[in-house]
């Protein structure tokens, strides 16, 4: 039952049009006329509501498909008729002619013709878009209902495709069958080429056309990589750019120097970047950059670096800007920057080798050193001294030259290479290469000498910061040195001399140096050096302790000799340097006979020391000591006529003191011969010669008179006390020849290296045993590589040395070969 039926009429909402039939053709005519008005920009009196309603009604009456087809047909006709002909009007003969051949027209004419064409096309495209969006608004109901339900593209999309087909793909003219699209690409490329050549072009206009190409697709699937821009334009653009830049690179290499090339290349790269932003699309940026980089950099960088005005020239002339440019270019195409790196490395090694050669040349400018340094040939002594001094100077100059070189390249690295890590590594390697070069074995010694020189003289009057910089420099060089053990050997030797002879200006600075080395090279390295300092402190305490001890013994002896003593631990101090019982001194030094007074105090100290430390044996090293002697010269007539007693305090070596004391017992005017002195004192021959030279030959300290007077000392020479000695000062220092730290002679060096090699053998053996103890069994290759890596901080052992040491260890039954293994390996024998 339907409630209320028949009681009262109710009014439902009006049904609208649903029942009315419509006439499709006449409705379409209305719509078509309106569309024509829209296309001719005459839409202002059209009623949107009316047009929408007509289209709505057609679609509602299920005539959507007919409407769609009609609209499409209408657009097609419009484009192929009105629009196409208006564009063809823009194609001036100029433009068409140069599409085939460039000749006959000027660049400016072509540019104007091109711009006219682009403007017309841009206008047509813009109009088409505006009109179609208006049509799409009118046909919204069709788009929403018919197109969506039947899965056909919206009318707007369809119309855009029509533009592509009817305009861009149409023939240029009746005679010319190439599509308009090709002409468009060509014109754009030509305009860009004009800009590259320096003309001003309408970037905005081109960008509009590019946007049109980007908005259209080559196929109807609208896939992303099928945009007309990519398909028909971009590839052409990249190809023509490649050709252009290839040619430009060639002419630039021919015409300009490397710095100019870099500047122009960089400018081109930035230009292309800007072009993509302002004229084309940013998506092209990486592609065109790749092209430019390949043509201007990648294919040319080797040539560029090696040009006469290339990297070498830039380094030598401090062209930091240009180096930065070339670095930047190289970095664009090669993350390793290998070309620039190679050039830099080459130059470092070249310059370093020059420094090395200079040092060698400087050290060889002097006559070659005598074959025997502590032999007996006196005449060569002075010359040899001189040459050694020259060599020392050469050593210091070498260090300073290397530091200058280092500073130079550091600056280049910082300012031009943006502190690039890879380059730093490469440069460090190159420095290490020439510093450790096989043809230049002296770097360790030179660096140690440099420090020695500074410790003794260089740091005088310098501020703390300056000293710190100096120390830091030494450390920097030390970092490059491969054979740290050799350096340690030299440093110990030089330090030993400085400590024992009180040559260091500042103990503080010495300690700073040690702590810097500790940070750089580790505890192991400085352990022995620190022990040397400790010995010095302990010795001071011993000396004062002994002094108190002697004072406590009873009556004060007016002739008491004061003793200052340094007790050196034989393991830490380089005994061969200080003349102690060295490893290869098969002839143990004969003990020097001290005068009774000295002998007494010596005994006294030995007793005192053995009470404090039982079981330790003291070996006296008189060759390292000094003595202060108070000497009284009797009243004799002087050359200047004065006649009085003179007292002098003589600071002499221990040996000289022993010699001088011999003359105490000698009646005035008597003499002793060389042989007698030697027999009585038992001083080693070479030391005796040196001491007598300084006492009797050196002009200012001639305390003894020698007969016959000559520079050389012969066994038959006689010596008198020089009663007429006279000097301007009370305190006189009698120097002993050759006591400072100097460059070693070749013979000494060979010895040092031999010693070093010997100690290396031990170190290598120790390392092998350590490794094997832990691993028990290990293949040969592994053992070798582990040994090398363990010793890396100290030096780089030769594989042959390691092999030899393994053999020795097998002989001594620390190891045995494992039989039957595929690879040769060893087993540790406990």
């Amino acid at each position: 039952m339907i409630a209320g039926r028949g009681r009262q009429r109710i009014r439902p909402p009006r049904r609208g049009l649903h029942g009315d039939e419509i006439d499709f053709e006449s409705t379409w005519d209305i719509i078509q006329a309106a569309f024509r008005e829209i296309h001719t920009k005459n839409a202002s009196r059209l009623s949107y509501e009316e047009l929408y309603r007509h289209a709505y009604r057609i679609v509602l009456k299920k005539k959507g498909e007919d409407l769609y087809k009609k609209v499409k047909e209408f657009e097609k006709q419009w484009l192929s008729g009105e629009v196409r002909s208006s564009i063809q009007l823009l194609l001036s003969p100029n433009l068409l002619a140069d599409a085939q051949s460039v000749g006959g027209t000027t660049a400016n004419e072509r540019r104007v013709a091109g711009e006219k064409f682009l403007k017309g096309l841009k206008q047509a495209w813009g109009d088409h878009q505006v009109c179609m969006s208006m049509l799409a608004d009118v046909l919204m109901y069709m788009d929403r209902v018919y197109c969506q339900d039947h899965r056909v593209p919206s009318i707007y999309t369809t119309a855009m495709v029509l533009f592509r087909d009817e305009i861009l793909h149409s023939r240029t003219s009746a005679k010319d069958s190439r599509p308009l699209l090709d002409l468009l690409s060509h014109v754009i490329l030509e305009q860009i080429q004009m800009e590259r050549d320096g003309d001003v072009i309408d970037k905005h206009l081109i960008k509009s056309c590019v946007h049109m190409l980007d908005g259209l697709h080559a196929d109807d699937l609208e896939s992303e990589n099928q945009r007309l821009y990519n398909v028909s334009f971009e590839q052409d653009y990249l190809n023509t750019s490649r050709v252009f830049y290839r040619g430009e690179a060639e002419s630039m290499l021919r015409e300009s120097d490397a710095g100019e090339y870099c500047r122009r290349a960089r400018k081109r790269i930035h230009e292309e970047e800007d072009r993509c932003r302002a004229t084309l699309l940013e998506s092209t940026t990486p592609k065109i950059q790749k092209v430019v980089e390949e043509e201007l950099i990648q294919n040319r960088i080797k040539e560029l670096v090696e040009m006469e005005s290339g990297v070498r020239f830039m380094i030598d002339n401090d062209r930091l800007d240009e180096l930065n440019l070339i670095y930047d270019l190289n970095a664009r195409v090669d993350t390793k920057k290998s070309e620039v790196t190679r050039a830099i490395q080459k130059r470092i090694v070249e310059l370093g080798t020059e420094v090395n050669n200079d040092a060698i040349a400087a050290s060889q400018a002097a006559p070659p050193p005598a074959p025997a340094a502590d032999g007996g040939d006196k005449p060569k002594g002075q010359a040899q001294e001189k040459s050694l001094n020259l060599q020392t100077a050469a050593a210091i100059k070498w260090v300073e030259d290397v530091l200058v070189l280092k500073d130079k390249f550091d600056k280049v690295w910082r300012d031009s290479f943006q502190s690039d890590n890879l380059l730093q590594t490469a440069m460090t390697r190159s420095f290490a290469d020439f510093i450790n070069s096989a043809t230049f074995p002296r770097s360790s010694e030179y660096i140690s000498l440099f420090i020695d020189e500074n410790m003794k003289k260089g740091i005088k009057g310098k501020t703390e910061t300056e000293i710190d910089i100096m120390l830091e420099k030494a450390i920097i060089l030390l970092r490059y040195v491969q054979d740290k053990d050799l350096f340690e050997r030299y440093y110990k030797k030089h330090l030993c001399r400085r400590l024992l002879m009180n040559k260091s200006i500042s103990n503080e600075v010495e300690k700073q140096m040690i702590s810097k080395m500790k940070m750089e090279l580790g505890n192991n390295f400085t352990m022995k050096l620190e022990a040397m300092f400790k010995d010095m402190t302990v010795s001071e305490e011993l000396t004062s302790g002994f002094k108190k001890h002697v004072e406590g013994l009873g009556d004060r002896d007016p002739h008491r000799i004061e003793l200052a003593i340094n007790v050196l631990t034989s393991m830490t101090w380089p005994m061969d340097t200080i003349g102690g019982p060295g490893d290869n001194d098969e002839d143990r030094r004969p003990k020097c006979n001290f005068p009774p007074a000295v002998e007494k105090i010596k005994r006294g100290f030995e007793k005192y020391y053995s009470e404090k430390h039982s079981g330790r044996q003291l070996t006296w090293l008189p060759n390292m000591g000094t003595a202060d002697v108070k000497a009284v010269f009797p009243r004799v007539l002087q050359k200047d006529g004065s006649f009085k007693e003179r007292r002098h305090e003589l600071n002499v070596s221990t040996y000289a003191m022993v010699i001088l004391l011999l003359f105490n017992e000698l009646p005035a005017g008597q003499h002793i011969t060389f042989e007698e002195i030697q027999a009585q004192t038992n001083i080693p021959h070479s030391d005796l010669v040196r001491n007598l030279q300084s006492l009797a030959v050196a002009p200012k300290t001639r305390i003894l008179v020698k007969e016959p007077m000559s520079k050389e000392i012969r066994p038959t020479d006689m010596f008198f006390f020089n009663e007429g000695f006279r000097a301007g000062f009370i305190r006189i220092k009698v120097g002993v020849v050759s006591s400072g730290n100097k460059v070693e002679s070749d013979r000494e060096r060979r010895e040092t290296e031999k010693k070093n090699d010997d100690s290396r053998s031990h170190v290598v053996e120790a390392a092998i045993v350590r490794i094997m103890k832990q691993r028990k069994e290990l293949g040969h290759q592994h053992l070798v590589s582990e040994t090398i890596s363990q010793l890396n901080g100290k030096f780089k052992p030769e594989v042959s040395l390691i092999k030899k040491r393994i053999e020795k260890l097998i002989e001594r039954e620390y190891l045995e070969r494992v039989e039957g293994g595929e690879i040769s390996s060893y087993r540790y024998l406990a």
């Binding site: 209320g4 109710i10 439902p12 909402p13 202002s44 009623s47 509501e49 919204m140």
Partner: protein, 274 residues
Amino acid sequence: MSPSAFNSGDFSDFTISCGELTFKVHKMVLASCSEFFSACFRFPGKEADDSCINLPEDDPQMVRRMVIFFYHLDYDPTSEQLCNRLSKINHSNGPADLATTAHPRINWWLPGSGFKDAVQPCYYRFDCPCYCPLAEGERTDQPTAPPVNIPPAFSQAQTMIRSGAGVQMASPLTIHASMYALAEKYQSRCLMLRALKKFKDCVHDHWNTPDFIEAVVIGFSSTQSGNRGMRDAILDAFRICVRVDISKIPGMEERLENFDEPCFHLLKSWPIKV
């Protein structure tokens, strides 16, 4: 959007006219709800020039409801609570067609009735959305029918007393179905959804009326067949209320476009019930 903006037309920048009614509206409000209006304002034609549009072929009352919806996201008839809100609107003296019957509403919150926690069958809700705000002072002759079809369990429930602010609308289903079609024409998705929801909400109370027959015809003839919203709602109503599955009767759905009273009776007595 406050009622006053709509009532006073302050700062309005566009006029809609339809039959005897005109509405002063704000482009911003309309463009945000309807793509038709958005395109219309964009289109450089007569309407944009004159800031005025005429909708000559639509029912003025429906256009009125649509415009009210653009401002308030609801239109009459509606449920009682929303009615208060809409009653503040000056709705252009639209005559409310009065319902000849009132259907029962159950006062389920009555103390002790025990319905509070019970699940309510949806067609026994008190706020049936066919209520229409009434202009003040307007007299209505609201016939009151006795409650019908109340299941015995609910016999104690009271018929709700209507306040004087509104009257019950005669043909809510026709209005909602027409509104759905209108919303589709003017491409307003939110209005389509709203109309559909309102239709579903009150179809249970009104299915057994000529209003329903009218709504079926409108629902099936005023949109393209691809638009399933209203069509599915009507098929659901047949299934739940008439307990007939239209889709099981070959060719029946196509016939609904020309649905009429004999058809309705035929379906009601269809032997195969869901």
